[in-house]
């Protein structure tokens, strides 16, 4: 039962958060604060991406007027609950600026105009606000439709009920949803590119790749789908059919997941082949450090296998896609793979010239903290909007 009434779940969540927090504090206070901030940055990026990508699903389904998704939109919308946390985490990142922006003391050959801490935090903060704002506005209307004639929920929910009055104008709501879904989709592309450039690519300020932004938001949707599969499975396994989820839904979701696994790999290869072929050191040095020189080349292979090869061959098969339990595990593994992929991108820049992989128990513990936050957010939201656990066909336009 995914609910705050579920004591075990709550305790688990709190425990995780506590562990993560402590681990982080200890390491920051310790001899290697940069390691703590590295883990922090990676988790911030990953978990935010899950949330942002998660909501994107619902948006796209709305835009394409897709019927097959059914209650999956519910699942996707739940992830919006992480937005406020994500933004808070971003603000906290400011404390670690000394460790997460290695370019602060480099000769940037004129890049200073763009790469300076105040401007960076300003623009990225604003960008995130816009993205999340649009997300919530979209959600606001989406939930109105779902809430019609549904059981009452928490405070937020009642606030929403007041907002929309007795019987809302469904057509108008649909229009608004359309508008904000477009806006959110645009913002998603723009903002995630920006975050990608600023918080990942720029860590190695002399390297550029025009596709990097797109690569980031495609990856975000990839992990978003992963998160959805996990949550959907969790709901399905706990609540069963009341969620309205069927194996067909899992199958379709699995197909989409597979598609984006391929797309992510494609975007990776597309960058690799161009850089490899061009052989211009300004570009190649970055890739060489991460794929050919130990210790990172090992990690590169791990990421490649865990995040692409494995899912590719498994998801070729139709049946596994329809097995929630299995998909849950697979998705979790892939998310770990993407976590490592983030490490591969930021690691060499942050802990420069390290003989061994800057990866250890601490990173795991800190990550658990973020997991706790996500669980907490999700469960809270589900309590607020119980209809998201229950499926009734969305009200059509009159």
């Amino acid at each position: 039962m995914l609910s705050l009434k579920n004591k075990r779940l709550v305790i688990l969540g709190i425990a995780l958060i506590a562990i993560g927090f402590l681990a982080f504090i200890i390491q920051v206070a310790g001899s290697h604060p940069e390691r703590a901030w590295q883990a922090y940055l990676i988790n911030f990026l990953l978990w935010s991406a899950i949330a942002q990508g998660g909501l994107l699903f619902s948006v796209i389904m709305h835009l394409t007027k897709a019927k097959w998704c059914g209650p999956l939109t519910n699942v996707s919308e739940v992830f919006a609950a992480f937005f406020p946390i994500s933004f808070a985490l971003f603000l906290i990142l400011f404390l670690g600026k000394a460790h997460v922006f290695p370019w602060q003391h480099m000769d940037l050959h004129g890049k200073e105009v763009w790469l300076n801490v105040p401007f960076l935090f300003f623009r990225d903060g604003v960008a995130l606000l816009i993205l999340y704002g649009l997300g919530f506005t979209y959600l606001f209307y989406a939930l109105q439709l779902k809430a019609i004639g549904a059981a009452t929920g928490g405070r937020l929910r009642s606030f929403l009920d007041q907002k929309m009055g007795i019987n809302p104008d469904v057509t108008r709501i649909h229009q608004r949803m359309s508008i904000f879904s477009v806006l959110y989709a645009l913002a998603f592309a723009g903002v995630l590119s920006l975050i990608g450039y600023d918080l990942v690519m720029a860590l190695d300020p002399h390297w550029i790749s025009t596709l990097f932004g797109a690569y980031q938001f495609v990856k975000a949707f990839y992990v978003g789908l992963g998160g959805m599969i996990i949550l959907a499975s969790a709901l399905y396994l706990t609540q069963g059919d009341s969620t309205g989820l069927t194996t067909t839904h899992f199958h379709n979701l699995g197909k989409l997941f597979f598609a984006f696994c391929l797309l992510w790999a494609d975007f990776f290869y597309v960058q690799l082949v161009v850089i490899w072929y061009g052989n211009i050191p300004e570009e190649t040095a970055y890739v060489i450090e991460r794929t050919m020189v130990p210790p990172w080349n090992f990690l590169a292979w791990v990421v490649f296998i865990v995040a692409f090869v494995l899912p590719f061959f498994i998801l070729l098969n139709k049946n596994v896609k329809t097995k929630p339990k299995f998909m849950m595990v697979l998705s979790a593994v892939i998310l770990v793979g993407i976590w490592l992929e983030h490490l591969l991108l930021v690691g060499p820049a942050l802990s420069h010239g390290s003989r061994s992989l800057p990866l250890g128990l601490w990173d795991g513990l800190i990550t658990l903290g973020f997991l706790g936050l996500m669980i907490f957010a999700v469960v809270y939201f589900l309590d607020e909007f119980p209809e998201l656990k229950r499926f009734q066909p969305a009200v059509e336009k009159r």
């Binding site: 050191p281 890739v287 050919m292």
Partner: protein, 994 residues
């Protein structure tokens, strides 16, 4: 070079083949002989030493003969004048021989129609005319000739005597009258000494374009770089003073743009300054005094005002001249206004003051060109033709109708029915067109002869190939004309030998053979013994002019700079000289080193001048002078002084074959027939009456996309003060991966760094060929380009194709101006870089370009299908595509190098580092069971570079010179940051503050 010399000599001048030449019967065919002479081995070249006659300098050449035909000429390494080097014009000699418009048989003019007649007919016709002339009184048979060797001159005199006429007059359009006169007045020697520039440490030129045409360009090119190229000790400094920046000026450390004809003021200013510093020891007090008086008024300010220059320029010039240990002031060039004589006279005085012994002057080895007649005499000669009632005029390979201003009335004087005009020319040039009979004679490479560019030595000519035509040598012809059976010698060859014998140069036959082998007799260079002193009258030279003896006219204090009244200057061209080179297509095709314009004759003007004329760059302007007017494309440049318009000589012939007729413009048509009374010389400048834009614009056939390098790290320079060993030049940029800081990487396995190289290093087989280009030595003369054209059968595309951007040159000399001060120019030879990671290679779908075992970037022509991807992906844009089938009109095809494929349409081509020469070296080394030695492989461009700016060799040999040069602090690679690992290593140009 030493070893190469030996190789050459081994084959030079073996005579069996040449002997067959210059008998009256020509060879049926001059290639694929069934019974080849002993020294003609199919597939291997034979070298014949001879002398270049493309200009009066008289450089030594060796002609490469393959299967009976000369395919290329190179400088004779033993020759003291050019030391194995050759200029752009010298390289083009062969295009004279194989010129498709060459006249094969005599032509007789019958009512304005040319009728071919046989040689014997023509000969007897001349004989008949000669006898008539001889009988009808004295001096009725006259001759005007090009500058010829002593022997030939003697022969002419000998023959004309028989026709009871006086000797011939030698005509050179550029006869340096002002210099000669100044020398006469100052030293009592009416001649042209040679200058030991290499010994100087401060050089000042008053417009002498000694890197292009002045006296002996190839010699002065290497002498100049000997003093100017960076050395461990201080580098020599060079000031160029002239109203426009010639190529020579572009190589100066500072170009001082003075008002046309006001160079004298600057020299006087220097005289004043030097005298004030108490220089001039060893000179008679009287002279010093008169000079002091004369130079009194030339204060820095006054000088600057008179010459219209920046006082700062003059100051720095003064400082350097005073500081110099062995300064040398050179005279004026051809292209200056009246006042040149004053400048040269003053220059002589200044030289005396600076060094009373004139140790840098060599009056023992004077330039032969001094033997050419003054312009006044030439005009006089032509005027006398009618007055003296001359019956027979013999014109030996000169083109006065083109080279003299129209006002001189040459055409009229030639066009008289009483006088029979014979032209010994192989080409229908403007003068020949006016003759009554055209009698082609042997070209230098087909002749036995002797021509010494300087006295004190002998430089021989021998037939380097069989002959095309039955044309006899002009000497033999003259003997036939003048004598029946009473001749003293059987033929001209014998005459030459007897001449040399009588001079005591050579006693018996084998000396003659040795001379032929070596290309001449070159006594060791001993210091000049003639030490000219100022003539006794010198003191009075600088008296006021109204005084009878005074010659030096003080420079006007005022200067009127009315942009509406501009000055027009015609300047000799490095490509066409005075115009005699215009029918060699290579010279038209290779763009002018400064304007980068080919085939056309633009008129150069300062932006202000263009503004005044209301014309833009590339727009057509009409220039009108007293003499006439022409329409020319205006070329905007800051390399000329405002109010001065400059145009190169040599083009705009009415006749002269397909490559020259009606191509470009002849600036001489704008000049007045004015002769300077003092010197008897012409003036190559005149006032412009009207200059206006016609409104329409023509496309310029230029090959440069941009004049500046947009802050890209291509043609780099380094200040002299950073050259000192302790100064770490690299510190300017800490090594990074950017264009600014990318480290120097050898195209060898050691050049690979696992941190920035995706690809594994690859080894080479014993050799990794590479070239070093010393930008500090490169003067931008484009001799390398010409050599490349000659060696590699590169197609001629002509004007329209160049406008389309389809020139085929494999080696271009890029010219970059400094955006801040455009008169600072860097020349940058660009050829295939033979990269270790060549971007052009992988993109080809059929492996046409690929990396050879010896590091060369091979281009397989017959595999190429013409996708042109390689060219697109070449960062250096050195690849050239055959857009069409290029033509070698018969017999030009005979010049083609049999060792190099002629590319068909639709294939890509590019510099191959002269792989054919590498192959030859491989063969030789293999036969001798050894490795190829350093310096054994010499690509055509490297071979001819007058200043030795290019070095070729094997990088894997750590002792090779090219490998050594990679250690130089100046070494860098163009666009190295692309990780192409180029095998062409550039050495930065050294700039010094002046």
């Amino acid at each position: 070079m030493k070893r190469r010399n030996f190789l050459k000599l081994a084959s030079i001048g073996s005579l069996s083949f040449a002997a067959s030449a210059c008998t009256s019967e020509p060879d049926k065919t001059i290639f694929s002989l069934v019974q080849a002479p002993a020294d003609m081995v199919t597939g291997s070249p034979t070298w014949y030493a001879s002398t270049c006659r493309e200009c009066p300098a008289g450089c030594g050449i060796i002609a490469k003969n393959r299967e009976g035909r000369v395919i290329k000429v190179e400088g004779n390494p033993l020759h003291p004048i050019n030391r194995g080097k050759l200029c752009i014009r010298g390289q083009a000699v062969v295009q004279g021989i194989y010129n498709p418009d060459r006249i094969k048989s005599p032509l007789l003019k019958k009512n304005d129609q040319w009728q071919p007649i046989s040689f014997s007919q023509a000969r007897s016709l001349i004989q008949e005319k000669a006898i008539q002339a001889a009988q009808s009184g004295s001096d009725k048979a006259r001759m005007i000739t090009e500058l010829v060797g002593d022997s030939q001159l003697a022969l002419f005199i000998h023959c004309l005597e028989k026709l009871n006429s006086k000797g011939p007059i030698a005509f050179e359009p550029l006869a340096y009258e002002t210099l000669k006169t100044a020398n006469r007045e100052a030293f009592g020697i009416d001649g042209l000494p040679s200058y030991l520039m290499d010994k100087a440490d401060c050089l000042v030129s008053l417009g002498a374009d000694f890197l292009e045409t002045w006296l002996s360009p190839v010699e002065y090119a290497w002498r100049f770089k000997a003093m100017h190229a960076v050395r461990t000790e201080a580098q020599g400094v060079f000031f160029h003073i002239s109203p426009y920046q010639s190529l020579t000026g572009a190589n100066a450390d500072r170009w001082i743009a003075c008002h046309p004809g006001r160079e004298a003021a600057i020299v006087m200013g220097l005289i004043k300054a030097t005298l004030e510093k108490g220089r001039g020891i060893g000179l008679p007090q009287s002279l010093i005094q008169s000079l002091r008086d004369a130079s009194e008024r030339y204060t820095t300010q006054a000088t600057a005002r008179m010459a219209d220059i920046d006082p700062k320029d003059f100051e720095s010039l003064k400082i350097r001249v005073l500081k110099a240990k062995t300064p040398l002031i050179l005279g004026t060039g051809a292209g200056t206004a009246s006042g040149a004589f004053q400048a040269d006279l003053a220059a002589n005085m200044l030289n005396l003051i600076l060094d009373s012994d004139l140790t840098l002057f060599d009056f023992d080895r004077r330039h032969r060109v001094e033997g050419s007649a003054r312009r006044s005499e030439v005009i006089e000669f032509f005027n006398s033709l009618s007055t003296d009632g001359v019956r027979l005029l013999l014109i030996n390979n000169v083109n006065p109708a083109y080279a003299l201003p129209p006002g001189s009335g040459i055409r009229k004087s030639l066009d008289s029915d009483r006088m029979f005009v014979v032209s010994f020319s192989n080409f229908m040039d403007d003068t020949t067109a006016l003759a009554d009979l055209i009698f082609p004679v042997c070209l230098p490479l087909e002749s036995w002869d002797e021509y010494s560019g300087k006295n004190g030595m002998v430089s021989t000519l021998q037939p380097a190939m069989g002959r095309f035509t039955q044309a006899p040598h002009v000497g033999d012809l003259m003997l036939d004309v003048a004598f029946k059976d009473d001749r003293s010698v059987p033929d001209y060859k014998t005459w030459v030998m007897t001449q040399l014998h009588s001079k005591g140069v050579m006693r018996e036959k084998n000396e003659w053979l040795k001379a032929l082998q070596a290309g001449g007799v070159f006594p060791d260079v001993s210091p000049s013994v003639t030490r000219p002193r100022p003539v006794t009258g010198a003191t009075s030279l600088f008296e006021p002019v109204d005084d009878t003896t005074g010659l030096f006219e003080p420079v006007d204090d005022t200067i009127e700079r009315d942009p509406a009244k501009p000055v027009f200057i015609a300047v000799p061209s490095i490509r066409f000289f005075d115009g005699r080179g215009a029918n060699r297509p290579w010279l038209g095709e290779i763009p002018d080193p400064l304007t980068k314009v080919a085939w056309q004759t633009p008129v150069l003007g300062h932006p202000e001048s263009l503004k005044a004329a209301g014309a833009g760059h590339g727009e057509v302007v009409t220039i009108q002078t007293q003499q006439g007017q022409v329409e020319a494309i205006a070329y905007e440049t800051r390399q000329v002084k405002p109010g001065v318009w400059v145009m190169g000589m040599g083009q705009g012939h009415i006749h002269f074959g397909r490559y020259a007729a009606n191509v470009g413009i002849n600036p001489l048509t704008l000049l007045p027939p004015k002769i300077d009374n003092m010197t008897g010389g012409p003036v190559f400048s005149t006032a412009v009456v009207a200059l206006s834009a016609t409104g329409d614009s023509k496309p310029l056939a230029h090959t440069d996309g941009s004049r500046i390098q947009h802050d890209r790290k291509i043609a780099l320079s380094i200040p002299l003060d950073q050259m000192s060993a302790n100064h770490d030049e690299k510190s300017a940029h800490e090594p990074s991966l950017t264009m600014e800081g990318f480290p120097f990487t050898l195209p060898l396995p050691e050049g690979y760094d696992p941190k920035r190289d995706f690809y594994p290093p690859h080894d080479h087989e014993n050799y990794r060929w590479a070239m070093a280009v010393d930008l500090d030595k490169c003067i931008g003369c484009a001799a390398c380009t010409a050599a490349c054209y000659a060696e590699n059968n590169i197609g001629i595309v002509e004007k329209d194709r160049i406008v389309e951007g389809r020139e085929m040159t494999w080696l271009r000399v890029e010219r970059y101006h400094d955006p801040e001060n455009p008169e600072k120019i860097t020349f940058f030879p660009m050829m295939c870089q033979h990269c270790d990671n060549a971007p052009c290679e992988p993109v080809c779908p059929v492996y046409a370009p690929h990396h050879s075992k010896e590091g060369l970037n091979n281009q397989i022509y017959n595999r190429c299908i013409g996708t042109r991807f390689c060219s697109q992906n070449c960062p250096y844009k050195v690849r050239r595509f055959n857009w069409f089938e290029w033509e070698w009109p018969d017999p030009m095809n005979l010049q083609l190098n049999p060792d190099v494929t002629v590319r068909s349409k639709g294939v890509m081509e590019k510099c191959s580092f002269c792989i054919q020469r590498i192959k030859v070296a491989h063969g030789v080394a293999k036969n001798e069971k050894r490795e190829i030695k350093d310096g054994e492989v010499v690509p055509a461009c490297v071979q001819t570079c007058p200043t030795g700016a290019l070095t070729f060799g094997n990088l894997m040999d750590v002792n090779s010179r090219v490998r050594m040069l990679t250690q130089d602090v100046r070494a860098y690679q163009a666009m190295g940051y692309l990780n192409t690992k180029p095998a062409v290593i550039y050495l930065k140009k050294v700039v010094q503050k002046t």
